[in-house]
């Protein structure tokens, strides 16, 4: 198979980074940031997800089509969330 070969070092580095980020999520949760707790938590989670997608799932080394598929599913998720929430956010009239 012509798939790209990622070295073990990269896998271990990414795995380590994920664990660090996970500890960071827990740590930050214990600091009161007001409404920003959720923002930070989601930002870290998204970053972790991107790490998994890019390295563990090899998207970084994949064809354009794979990129398109990944971004499309993300884009559609955003449509669902944003348009649904737009109703609830502007209800007060």
């Amino acid at each position: 198979m012509s798939g790209h070969h990622v070295s073990r070092r990269v896998y271990f580095a990414v795995g380590f980074a994920l664990l660090v980020l996970f500890l960071l999520t827990v740590g930050v949760a214990y600091i009161d940031l007001g409404p920003f707790n959720i923002v930070v938590a989601m930002a870290i989670a998204t970053f972790k997800a991107i790490l998994v997608v890019l390295y563990f799932m090899h998207v970084r080394y994949s064809s354009r089509v794979t990129w398109v598929f990944v971004s499309a599913s993300f884009f559609w998720l955003v449509i669902l969330l944003v348009l649904t929430l737009s109703d609830y956010a502007t209800r007060g009239v």
């Binding site: 499309a72 449509i79 669902l80 348009l83 649904t84 737009s86 109703d87």
Partner: protein, 539 residues
């Protein structure tokens, strides 16, 4: 008299193997297409039967034929059967399955086993839903609005929902198969902009199926959880929000309209070019328009909810976005019309259906503008205007395209020609019957007759009688093709590989095609719809 040696008669996909096992375990996309053809036709006539009973009841303002309980089950089961079990699978699962690999120059879909699994999932979901219908039915409307569906209806809501949930996976696997096949299995030289528009439309449809169906699945699953465990997800009495159900439901169900009509648009592009002997007008615009509809179709679901209690500002955003969808649809209609310019139009049955599609879809689309307009929608929504509008799109559009496609590719699928006279006659009958059935409903709607009423004020009777009269003609128009198409199977195979003298890879193989479609993988060297070149070379 034997004119041809038996061995020289190439084995085709139908004669390749005999016996029930060879059909039920087949992985040939063409055989699976035929399995679908039979199954969805069954559901079409079941759904049609419910429609007939409804129209009969509506001949008089009183409830004299059926009771309220029965009528509510009739329109619900009509909707469920027609939408989920006929329209959504119709063109993709039958024509798409049969033609997509051939149009791409491939031997089969990328995942033949998944394809067979899709059909089995369809059958399991269908059988389960049928069982639920027979043992009491369901009366929530095909929209399953909460809290009625979760807390109040005493009918078989959960079984029907489970049936549709299973069916969803059937759709998803078909869509997945089409997308991968289109990406990875195109013949040499067949670039994206050499694809027939039918393939583009199947691709766009598959994108919608893949991204919308899972949301329906989870919505129905949550509905089931609420109903079974009596916990509040959507029922306000238990702490939920019914509007959220509507958002999630329409996130699927509005794009689902495009699942039904986009494939028909693809069919119409094939038919118009073939019978006008013309290249399609504005090929790239047509391809982009299909993809634009697929994307924009996801941004407009809130226009089903203008009076639902949704925020006023969200309503405005959804309304504005809805008008954007009209643009690519308008492009398509104009381009089909322009394709006829300087053509050599031959009036065969398939193209009559295509013209029927263009006319009826135009009316359906233009009345869609009425419903996208906020203030007008307030008056029209949940009336017969909406009923008429979506039947113009889904029956006038999707079914006309489906029947046109069936007539066009019937010789390819079976090797037989049908009786042209009867076919033209029934196309005409369908067109007249359809308009007589549904046009009066626009007026009824503007007058204010709400949908899902089995009794109504007397002043609405004349228009309802007209509609019922039209429905009887329309029903005839659906039965006649059944008869002459089946009849044609008794005749010898005379269609030849290319009875319409059409271009496109599917016409390069014998009719019916051999199991592997092509003896030698075709190489594509020209643009699609090269009809002018073909005539120039005396083809």
């Amino acid at each position: 008299m034997k004119t041809v040696n038996e061995d020289a008669l190439q084995k085709n996909y139908i004669t390749a193997a005999y016996g029930i096992r060879s059909w039920l375990l087949t992985r040939d996309h063409k055989r699976i297409a035929l399995l679908y053809l039979i199954s969805i036709t069954l559901f079409f006539f079941i759904g049609g039967f419910f429609a007939v009973l409804m129209r009969l009841e509506l001949m008089t303002p009183q409830g004299d034929l059926v009771s309220a309980e029965t009528y509510n089950r009739l329109f619900t089961m009509h909707g469920v059967a027609m939408i989920f079990f006929f329209l959504v699978p119709s063109i993709p699962a039958v024509l798409g399955n049969f033609l997509l690999p051939m149009m791409l120059g491939a031997r089969d879909l990328a995942f033949p086993r998944l394809n067979l699994l899709s059909w089995y999932l369809y059958m399991v979901g269908g059988a389960y839903t049928l069982y639920a219908m027979v043992t009491g039915g369901i009366d929530t409307g095909w929209t399953f609005y909460t809290p009625y569906s979760t807390g109040y209806s005493t009918t078989n809501v959960v079984p029907v929902v489970v049936g549709i949930f299973i069916l969803g996976f059937s759709s998803i696997l078909t869509g997945l198969n089409f997308i991968v096949t289109t990406h990875k299995m195109r013949a040499p030289g067949l670039t994206w902009f050499r694809l027939p528009l039918f393939v583009w439309s199947q691709y766009a449809t598959s994108v919608i199926i893949l991204l919308a169906t899972p949301v329906l699945a989870i919505t129905l699953a949550l509905l089931g959880v609420e109903r079974i465990f009596r916990v509040g997800i959507f029922d306000p009495a238990l702490g939920g929000d019914p509007i959220l159900f509507q958002h999630m439901f329409w996130f699927y169900s509005h794009p689902a309209v495009y699942i039904m009509v986009l494939p028909s648009m693809g069919v119409v592009s094939e038919l118009v070019t073939c019978f006008a002997r013309r290249r399609i007008f504005g090929y790239r615009f047509m391809a982009f328009a299909v993809m634009a509809i697929a994307v924009l179709g996801f941004l407009v679901w809130g226009h089903h909810m203008f009076v639902s209690g949704q925020s006023v500002y969200a309503g405005m955003a959804f309304s504005a976005l809805s008008f954007f969808v009209a643009i690519p649809s308008a492009i398509k209609v104009f381009n089909w019309t322009a394709t006829l310019h300087k053509g050599r139009i031959e009036f065969r049955t398939p193209v009559l259906y295509a013209f029927g599609f263009i006319g009826l879809f135009t009316i359906g689309g233009l009345t869609g503008l009425f419903l996208a307009t906020l203030a007008v929608n307030v008056h029209l929504t949940d009336t017969y205007f909406v009923v008429a509008h979506f039947h113009y799109i889904m029956v006038g559009g999707a079914v006309m395209g489906y029947l046109g496609g069936i007539h066009y590719w019937w010789p390819k699928m079976t090797g037989r020609m049908y009786h042209e006279g009867w076919a033209k006659f029934s196309a005409l009958i369908l067109f007249v019957g359809f308009n007589l059935t549904f046009f009066p409903q626009f007026i009824l709607g503007y007058l204010g007759m709400p949908r899902r009423y089995y009794i109504y004020p007397e002043e609405f009777q004349v228009l309802n009688v007209l509609s019922t009269a039209g429905a009887s003609i329309l029903g005839l128009g659906y039965i006649i093709p059944m008869i002459y198409l089946l009849w044609s199977l008794r005749k010898p195979r005379t269609a030849g590989p290319n009875p319409w003298n059409a271009v496109g890879l599917e016409w390069l193989t014998p009719s019916p095609p051999p199991t592997h479609n092509f003896d030698k993988t075709p190489v594509v060297t020209e643009e699609p719809y090269a009809y002018e070149e073909k005539s120039a070379h005396g083809g």
